[in-house]
């Protein structure tokens, strides 16, 4: 490999004797650039390599809403946050320790988002100081002065200048150079980095691979020569084999591992990449991704396949869920198994298409007209994104109806290592039954106790029936007598009670009784538990309870609630704040899980929820908990 020439005109020339080496248990790194400059790739690779070296990681994408927003604008910031630690990392954390910014404007978007703190080490591209345009030069200088006031530790870095030695288009190469820089200061294994580059760029040809290798090495060597910072994040080795991926890839793999035949979808952010991933591998497992003409057709197609005995899923986000709701009602009414993955984004309407929210819980629960009881699960980790699809497939078949798996934009694009699953044959859907059906058994042979029944599949002789969305009895004949509807509704509803009966009481994190209990669901798990741990370190009598099943709810909640003085949910969706104009205890609209819990337990469950379009950091939750504990005492 060609070694780059080292320039000595850079700010902080060092030699190894003067290294500023620090050992940290965890660190938060961000890479931000204009959209299209590849900061996301840089961050992902840094995360992957760190995971491969045995660190815990959690990554979050920093996503602009448009594909090509204007350059050098704070609205266009694109990139990645990587939190790495000695132990498994469960959330994105609070403020960043190290940031690499490709221009000062994108950094402002992170400052506005509260991602930086005094002392954050910022590596800032310095090319703007010599920009031909005066406004750019001025903006850069002003920002430098401002950053100083904000007490960031800014190191100007000649990224473009250095990259030009290896590529004609530094806008496309800076990200690899920056990756090299990060790898030098975090002492990452360059071989692993090379491996990732080869994996990522092989398809684009040898010369692209070589250029990227040269750029990484250049960044690495430049940093070794010119930067004194070294951060060691010691590894507490896990003996088990691990995989690292994002939540959408995990959903796709889950679909494969559950033996799905069909994934029928219509593109919608942030769900689409799950289908992208699936489309790239599904055929190898004998499955097919169908891109339908709209979400209604997507779910209809999946239901058709399922009715015919094949296993099917559909993957979508809020607006797509809205379109699917009529068919979901049919799936409940006619008891057709179906897995629906809803990757939540901000709503209502088009909302925040690329950003996280937990706003679709009530829509999934109540979205269809009439009484339409269905099973709803929410994944809290990327590991669960994988396993819950498999669980959902089984539940859909056993309980004969739709099962919804909620994930969100944070899980969809975030990366996290988890134990490599050992694929089991029992996860796969069994081959379809084409044996003779006992024609004395009706198509809805509801067990009078449980409401559960077996279904005939087209091809089974003796099982011929007409599935219908009209009210019907056991024979699937249109119900004209009033009693039939009452009974059929009871049978469909009963199944949820039966499922709840077979679930375990959820486990508390923290105190088993005390002053305050936080109830949460979905991707907030890590942040909530970290906040609880911090408060408990100072003697706070607090605990958290994280729910995976939202319909039916896990059992024993009321009993657990009885052990705490105050119960509140922490959620990323909207709720009114008491004390705001017109908002009183009677007018106040609660966060979504809080409403369900209040309804279910008759306990006065409070809530604290926010819709910033980003994960709620543990520090913010911690602050709220402390506030509540103080007003309590």
């Amino acid at each position: 490999m060609k070694q780059p020439a080292i320039e000595t005109t850079t700010p902080s020339t060092t030699d190894s004797a003067k290294l500023n080496r620090r050992t940290v248990q965890q660190h938060i790194v961000e890479v931000v650039s204009d959209s299209g400059e590849g900061a996301q790739t840089c961050g992902q690779m840094f995360g992957t390599v760190s995971a491969k070296m045995g660190n815990g990681i959690w990554t979050v994408e920093i996503i602009p809403a448009e594909i090509e927003p204007p350059r050098r604008s704070s609205a266009g910031a694109s990139g990645n946050r990587i939190r790495l630690g000695s132990n498994p990392v469960t959330n994105a954390g609070d403020t960043a320790d190290v940031v690499i910014a490709f221009n000062e404007q994108v950094l402002y978007s992170r400052i506005d988002g509260g991602a930086l703190k005094p002392g954050t080490l910022v590596f800032l591209e310095s090319v703007w100081a010599e920009d031909p345009q005066e406004e750019v030069r001025n903006a850069y200088q002003e920002a430098l002065a401002d950053f100083k006031k904000r007490e960031f530790e800014v190191i100007e870095v000649p990224m473009e200048k250095e990259c030009l030695k290896h590529t004609e288009d530094p806008r496309r190469g800076k990200n690899m150079w920056a990756l090299g820089l990060l790898c030098a200061i975090y002492e990452r294994d360059l071989e692993l980095v090379h491996g990732e580059i080869v994996k990522k760029f092989t398809r684009k040809g040898k010369s692209v691979v070589n250029t990227n290798l040269a750029l990484v090495d250049a960044g690495f060597n430049w940093a070794k020569e010119n930067l004194s910072y070294r951060f060691e994040v010691p590894v507490v080795g896990t003996p088990e084999p691990m995989v690292v991926m994002n939540g959408n890839q995990a959903v796709g793999l889950g679909a494969m591992a559950s033996g799905m035949d069909v994934c029928s979808m219509y593109p919608i952010t942030p769900a689409t990449s799950a289908s992208h991933y699936l489309a790239s591998v599904f055929h190898k497992a004998g499955g097919v991704v169908h891109q339908a003409e709209d979400e209604i057709a997507a779910v209809g197609f999946a239901l058709g396949a399922s009715y015919a005995g094949k296993t099917a899923c559909t993957i979508t986000s809020g607006p797509g869920l809205a379109l699917k709701s009529e068919f979901l009602g049919l799936a409940v009414m006619a008891e057709i198994p179906l897995v629906v993955v809803v990757v939540q984004r901000g709503g209502p309407s088009t909302g925040l298409p690329t950003k996280i929210e937990q706003g679709d819980l009530l829509a999934t629960l109540y979205g269809s007209p009439g009484d339409s009881p269905k099973i709803i699960l929410a994944a809290a980790t990327i590991d669960e994104c994988f396993h819950f699809v498999i669980t959902a497939r089984k539940l859909a078949e056993q309980f004969r109806g739709p099962v919804i798996v909620l994930t969100d934009a944070n899980l969809a694009t975030g990366q996290q290592p988890f134990k490599r699953p050992v694929i089991r044959e029992e996860w796969l859907a069994p081959p379809i039954d084409q044996s003779q059906w006992d024609s004395t058994v009706p198509p809805f042979d509801w067990d009078p106790e449980t409401g559960i029944s077996r279904r005939p599949i087209p091809g089974q002789r003796g099982g011929e029936y007409v599935l219908t969305g009209l009210a019907h009895g056991e024979e699937s004949r249109v119900a004209y007598e009033s009693g039939i509807n009452q009974r059929a509704m009871a049978m469909r509803s009963r199944k949820l009670a039966v499922l709840q009966n077979s679930l375990k009481q959820p486990k508390l994190h923290g105190a088993s009784e005390g002053d305050l209990l936080v109830v949460s669901w979905g991707s907030t798990l890590g942040a909530v538990e970290e906040a609880i741990d911090r408060v408990r370190e100072d003697g706070g009598k607090v605990a958290s309870l994280h729910l995976r099943f939202l319909s039916p709810l896990e059992p024993g909640l009321k009993e657990i609630f009885g052990r705490f003085k105050k119960i509140m949910t922490v959620e990323i969706n909207y709720s009114d704040e008491e004390g705001e104009p017109y908002i009183t205890p009677t007018t106040r609209r609660y966060a979504q899980l809080a409403r369900i819990l209040r309804d279910h337990t008759l306990v006065d469950v409070d809530c604290w929820s926010r819709v910033p379009g980003s994960p709620i950091p543990p520090g913010a939750i911690e602050a709220e908990l402390r506030k509540r504990l103080n007003t309590e005492n």
Binding site: D261, S264, H290, A292, G304, A305, A308, G459, V466, R477
Partner: protein
Amino acid sequence: MYGLKKDWVMEKRPRVCVLEDYVGSEARWCPGCGDHAVLSSVQRVARDLQLPPEKTVIVSGIGCSSRFPHYMKTYGFHGLHGRALPVACGIRSRRPDLDIIVVTGDGDCCAIGTAHWIHAIRYNMNITVLLLDNNIYGLTKAQTSPTTKRTERSNTHPRGSFFVSLNPISVTLGIDNASFVAQTVDWNPPHLYETIKAAHEHKGTSFVRILQRCPHYTSHIFAEAQRDSSLMLLMRHPEGINVPDAVAKTFKNQVEHDPSNLNEGREIASQSNGVYPIGLFYKNPQAERYDDFTSYGLEMGPSAEIEAVNEALDRFMV
């Protein structure tokens, strides 16, 4: 079994399905409704082709016509208004072994289900689509449908419809990859029967518009054409619908039309002289079929699937 030769097999009597094997609950359409005629034609075609009832699926939307599956003794899927086609395509995607017939109405197919209609024609999966077109919304009590003629009265347009009506045949012939487009009438059972049979035998999406009388709401609409066959134009060709000569003789207007000639088919379909062309407008057995793509990997066993999942998973190993 003891005493029997190794290659002994019990001689099975060949299975013969009779008409009753296709007859489900009693049809509840109005007396004289054209849907009755379509039902009995479908049942006869099924019997004559000996379609196993357990391998036959009738898929419909919502409407009078969409009650159809309940009156068959096969499998059926009576789903949502406008959404029969996606369901049928989904069934077909992984079940090449089933016979799939879609029954839809002019509101169901040409209004609420328009997007699916257009795309299902593009997908050209192997299904038979029967559009029962009575120029009105029957089930919901006489509202204007897309095929209602301009100035016809309905409950939503009591002073006559403003809309220029839509011609489902012209629309279908305008969709790329259309592979079988025919028209027939409920009041000519032999033509109806032959058309449904030809549609069933075609491999691909066969789209058949059936002009259907609704004596309850629009009794006057096809009354003239029923009385006077010169208000119909019979398309004939060896590659077209095989109508017995005795039946053909009753048509005063006839035209020789080669169903591989798309442009001529379009011309005939778009005539605006008040005459209904019946027969096959277009057929292309070579059109691409999406089910060839979606049925990929059907035979794959669990061990191959597990291997594929493991291989995919290993790409994420740290």
